[in-house]
Assembly symmetry: C2
Homo-oligomer: 151 residues x 2
């Protein structure tokens, strides 16, 4: 429970007689996975800008960022611990993550696989080969957000 929600609950009197304390592990997990995605975004966005031609293509830098995204993609899943949903803290994670764990795992696996492929093709430094794999990777982000993230 966030500080804000705790205060709101106190003001509403809902936790005066039945105290509910923040589950620190769940809040930490939310913070962790959001951090993972922040790091993913930091490396993903400049790649997107290079793909669109908004930024000059730097093959070495593209490769480095693709490798970082591929590595980070393997770290996100462990942050979705049971109970780390909207009741536990400030998160856009939908409850379906825990209701449809197989579908969620499958979508996360799609992201891992596509970003590994992107890191691999990035080694060649050929924009024509990179472009479709970048698009495919971005689609795995979107598909998971659409199914499992609140707007």
């Amino acid at each position: 429970m966030t500080m804000k929600k705790t205060l709101a609950a106190l003001l509403l009197g809902t936790i005066v007689f039945t105290p509910v304390f923040a589950d620190e592990a769940q809040e930490k997990a939310i913070e962790y996975r959001q951090s993972v995605f922040t790091v993913v975004g930091w490396h993903f966005k400049p790649m997107g800008a290079m793909i669109k031609g908004e930024k000059p293509f730097n093959a070495a830098e593209f490769q480095r960022m693709a490798e970082n995204v591929a590595f980070m993609s393997k770290l996100a899943a462990e942050g979705f611990i049971p109970g780390s949903d909207a009741k536990a803290g400030d998160t856009e994670a939908k409850d379906d993550i825990w209701k449809k764990p197989d579908e969620f795992k499958s979508k996360m696996a799609d992201f891992e696989k596509a970003s590994a492929e992107l890191a691999s093709v990035a080694k060649g430094g050929d924009m024509n080969a990179i472009k479709p794999v970048f698009g495919k990777t971005a689609e795995t982000c979107k598909a998971c957000h659409k199914a499992f993230r609140k707007d």
Copy 2:
């Protein structure tokens, strides 16, 4: 500049005639590097608990976490872009980071080196060999925090 600081400045009238808008790149950099350290902490703390015997030693899990910290250690530095100091957002970063860049780089390099060594020794799964290298890695964190992070 954070929302809070912007509001405070507006109330004080200091930015009514000389508008200063948030430098998004600097705020993003602050958020990015804090995220990197959050991910570091997520993996570092359970290793510490294993070292202290508060948690059973799981060699494979320890190795995985050590590798994650070693990887993350290489990602932090790029978040300290010029101007991403306390004037730009909510950060504990001291101005000395940008005033003494060589010392800061050297301390970050110490962390990279020690955590790479930790990931390497963790492969052996021998707690007696791991312990001193874990301690050395933790010291690199502390040394950098002491010099470059506000309390």
